[in-house]
Amino acid sequence: MPTEFLYGVEVVLNGLMAGVLYALVALGFVLIFKASGIFNYAQGVLALFAALTLVGIMEGQVPFAHLINAIFGTEIHHFGWHVPAVLAILLTAAVMVLLAWCVHNFVFRHLVGQEPIILFMATIGLAYFLEGVGDLMWGSDIKTLDVGLPQGASFWLEENTAFLGGEDFYGFFIDKLDMVATLVAALLVIALVLFSQYTKQGRAMRAVADDHQAALSVGISLNFIWVLVWSLAGFVALVAGIMWGAKSGVQFSLSLIALKALPVLMLGGFTSIPGAIVGGLIIGVGEKLFEFLIGAPYLGGATENWFAYVLALIFLVFRPQGLFGEKIIERV
């Protein structure tokens, strides 16, 4: 088999895995958009906040230590304990639920029925706010997140595929972390799809998305539904934060992964949970393959940022609601 082809396959495989990671972030967007029509720009910051909190809890950091020290002239930093990963994840999830409650009650509850762009704006405000609070709470240095996920190449795969290409080929490279992410993402998606299609709350969630007023009128508690979806989105953000944080450390830039998720959303449709995954895969493969075949050799590389968007854009021209998005009902 020609090695060039095998490398192409490798690129595709890695693109798929990268796509799953994008999709993890996109999922959070979809959940909130579906249930409330809110385009939640803060999703990336939510992931950052979740990861920060997780690390903070694991390391026993004192929240707002810097602030407290600055005001009271004290020197406190750590509680001096370490929390095991599983427990810390649970605690963080609880924090995310609390956050969801706050976000809803202090912000979006007062914005019911506003135009989408206003809500979008509010989420940007929220992003700033959370970013500031996250920094104040846990400090803005880079933190190492280690919840025991495997990292590095899967040597097994590498060794067992090495024969394919003869001399020149090392075997396929796939990051173990990516494999875990894929598994987790698959589980998440299945669970979320089941939830939204077959449960009463899921149905209510979709109803709320269509018409707030009508949902109110049949007695659906918007407050409850929205706290619910924000909690879910917070949880998804936590998962995304763990996966990305394990790669790059937990730091401000984590919030920028939101930008990787947007083309995924466009492609998959803002309202479709499976769409997030499929969109992620297409974008992941597409951008990696483009960089491999055209970007790096001919265009000087670093095409990934825009390629994803342009790909999504071209796609949308033919299917304005994205691959799986709900058909836009146009009637007069």
């Binding site: 914005l111 989408p116 959370l130 500031g132 920094d135 959303l265 670093a302 999504a312 007069v332």
Partner: protein
Amino acid sequence: MLYREAGDFKTSYQDDSQTFPIKFDRYRYYAVLAIAFGVIPFLINDYWASSILVPFLIYSIAAIGLNILTGYCGQVSLGTGGFMAVGAYACYKLMTAFPDVSIAIHVVLAGGITALVGMAFGLPSLRIKGFYLAVATLAAQFFLVWLFNKVSWFYNYSASGQITAPDRFVLGYQVTGAETTAVAKYMICLVFLTVCAVIARNLTRGTLGRTWMSIRDMDIAAEIIGVNPLKAKLTAFGWSSFFIGIAGALFFAVYLGAVEVGEAFGIQKSFLVLFMIIIGGLGSIFGSFAGAAFMVLLPVVLKVIGVDLFGFPTDIVAHFQLVIVGGLIILFLVAEPHGLAQLWRVAKEKLRLWPFPY
């Protein structure tokens, strides 16, 4: 009755459709202009020019531009940064290619070039709507930034990839380059802003404005009524980009003097300008000013209060700044989702009725 409308009769439709139908408003408008042109230039110093006034004026132009597209025509765009970059690079190329032509002309031409680019990126808007379009405009943002970064022709093959504005003069006053005085910077931006604002106002109050607004409010109905959606959207993209391009050109040439595309015209810029128009008020020229003022002033005010007044560590202040800016945005939206302009309108309405509550 502090604010009167009654007794201010119009005798012709022309009077009725003027910008400030109420006398009181009209006088205030002249007063603002007089102060802007006649008083501030004598008071201004480097700090006020560079930190507050010049960015405010330039951002106002950009906000007006975006407001045309988003506020009037309803097409949410996150490509503002990219379009500003087009303006900046076009201006730079023009300035260096035709050093003898006045920079004022270059700036306008830069706006024109940006308009063309904007229209090209506006084409998909015919099919793509709402947030899908917003995200699609990010394609413009990222692509343009990448392009200006990659193709060295745009920065005249300079080693650093930065573009630096050479010294240029308008009417004998230096307006770009290090030796430019605060007054010159301020005045050239002010003139451009005034002209842009008047044009924007003219466009939005007439046929074109109504075409845009009809597309914004209900595009299907608009089309059935006889609005050609492609034309309406493209003109909106064109004019919007024109203003944004001018803002970008001034931002580069007059305000910063040197830019690197990724840093100066990154996605943050797109969000910032969007912020301005939403905080200020969508579909309102006044709102563009208010929003720009708010977003330029707020961080400075917070910094001054936090660091200089209370002496907090700068990082805590910076974090609090994020918290406060974020919090204020939310607070504003909750209090008045339609921005400062609407707040102002409601206040006027109340004043008009004052002292009666309804």
